[in-house]
Structures are given as structure tokens and as C-alpha cells.
Symmetry: C2
């Protein structure tokens, strides 16, 4: 096994354990830094009643907690399946160096996980989406942005 295959195998083991324990679907993820696993997660949607508890999100949160940082600088992420749009967004905010995945979104669709639908929706204009999204203008919301802009000594992220 190559190094990458080894870490991907570890991600599969995390996913299998969670799936067999009924935590959620067949997905696992590990975060690696300096050749060590510093975070891991399996899909835990069912156990946690948390639709955001995808393997990647759980692993990112675990790794960030361990690093005490909201950035995964210099890290590699190994996900057993191509990330869905939510996880892709989470990865962009976490900014790891590289992402490796094994199964593809087509493989996932084949067992009933239809990320393709969300990929399509996310590219549509807001008013053409299946979940109705409506803008409600709110002066206080704009004022909150202005207060943020005017704040000194704020942490940027």
C-alpha cells in the first residue's frame, strides 16, 4: 500500500465502524498532518440527529479542536467519498492543503445518496431553487455589518 492508500484505508475503517454501529451512512474521513492522523469522523447523522454530521464535517471539527485552530493549514483530508456541496464548502472554510477521496458522487448516487441534486440546486439562481429562498430586507442586518466593519481589534477568519 502507498502512503495515501494507507490513510484512505484508515478513513474506511472509521466509516465502517460507524456504519456498523448505526451512527449513520457508509462514510468516513481522517485529517492528516505531518504524517499523523489528527482528526477523524464518521457519518453520525442518525445517532446525533444532526443533518450536518457528515464524516468530513465531523473530522474537520475534531481536527480543529485538536489543533485549537479554525484552519487546517498544511493538512491533508482523506474522505471515503467525494464530498457533497456542504462538505465541500466546509473544506473551503477550513482550507486544508489537499483533499483525497475514494468513491465518487456517481458511486454514492448508486446507493441512494443523491448529492448531484444539491450540486445542481446550488448553481441555480436563488429564486429558481426547490427550497424557496426569499430575501427579506432588514435595516438592522445591514447595520450589524456596518458595526462589524467599524470594530477595531477583531479577529478575521
Amino acid at each position: 500500500m502507498t502512503r495515501k492508500e494507507q490513510f484512505m484505508y484508515e478513513a474506511v475503517c472509521v466509516g465502517l465502524e460507524g456504519m456498523r454501529a448505526g451512527l449513520g451512512g457508509p462514510f468516513g474521513c481522517v485529517v492528516v498532518k505531518d504524517d499523523k492522523i489528527i482528526g477523524k469522523g464518521c457519518n453520525s447523522v442518525l445517532r446525533d440527529n444532526d443533518p450536518t454530521a457528515h464524516a468530513e464535517v465531523v473530522a474537520i471539527r475534531d481536527a480543529c479542536r485538536n489543533l485549537q485552530s479554525f484552519q487546517l493549514e498544511g493538512c491533508e483530508v482523506y474522505a471515503t467519498c467525494e464530498p457533497c456541496p456542504m462538505c465541500m464548502g466546509a473544506l473551503y472554510w477550513a482550507r486544508p492543503q489537499k483533499v483525497y477521496y475514494a468513491s465518487t458522487r456517481a458511486d454514492a448516487a448508486d446507493i441512494g445518496f443523491d448529492d448531484a441534486f444539491i450540486y445542481k440546486e446550488i448553481s441555480l439562481p436563488v429564486d429558481a431553487r426547490k427550497i424557496a429562498m426569499t430575501c427579506v430586507r432588514c435595516d438592522e442586518a445591514i447595520r450589524m455589518f456596518e458595526e462589524w466593519r467599524a470594530m477595531k481589534h477583531k479577529n478575521l477568519y
Copy 2:
């Protein structure tokens, strides 16, 4: 104030409180069911060292915990800003009935939160993205999907 403006104002209050306490950026969110707020959240990226702790994700998790369900059936979500791709994905998995937002992604970009970049990246083919994403084929990952398919009595989500 209309009913919608009232709930949006509540979302702003949640966001303001978090921002002023240094938890994270200027974003708030409430989840409403049967005219009652059943979940809320502010951006808590800085306090929690969690890049996924956007207001919508925090509010979805809170509402789901309170409902003891991984679905927000019949719920409305009020977010003080147009959801980023991660939060959009999270909303699709949570499946609320409606989403309302106040400020737009253009307003957010104007104070330095560049969701547009992620929106663009997410529409690109995997190999054209800024964060390198590489497929590492793995037989065990495919076998995990087959084991899931063959499982009886599994919960679907």
C-alpha cells in the same frame, strides 16, 4: 413589523450578541416552527475554533437537537445573510420548508466575507479547483457501499 420581519429581527439580535461577545462574525439565524423559535445560532467560528460553526449550521443543529430529528420538516429558517455554499448544503440536507435571508452575498463580500469565491469553485470540475482534490481509488471504500446496500433494517436519511 410583519411576522417575517419580526423573526428576522430576532435573528439579528442573536447575531449581534455573538458578534459583540467575540464568538464570531456578524451573522445570526433562527429556526421557526408553528410560529415559535425552536432553534437559534450565531456565528461561533472564533470561540469554538470550528470553521463549520456558521450561524445557520449552529441553528440547524440546535433545532434538530430540540426536535430530536435530523429533518426540519415544516420549519422556516431566518438567516441574517444569504447562506454560503456550506450552509446551503446543510439546509438541503435538513430540508426546511422555507428559507428567508436579509443581507445578500454582495453585502457580505463588501465587508470581506467572500462566499462568491466558494460558489464559483463548487461549480468547477473537481480537477480545476483551487484546493487540490484527487481521487484515490480504494476497493474497501466500494465494499463499504456494498455492505450498506445489503444491510437490512437500516434507517435512510
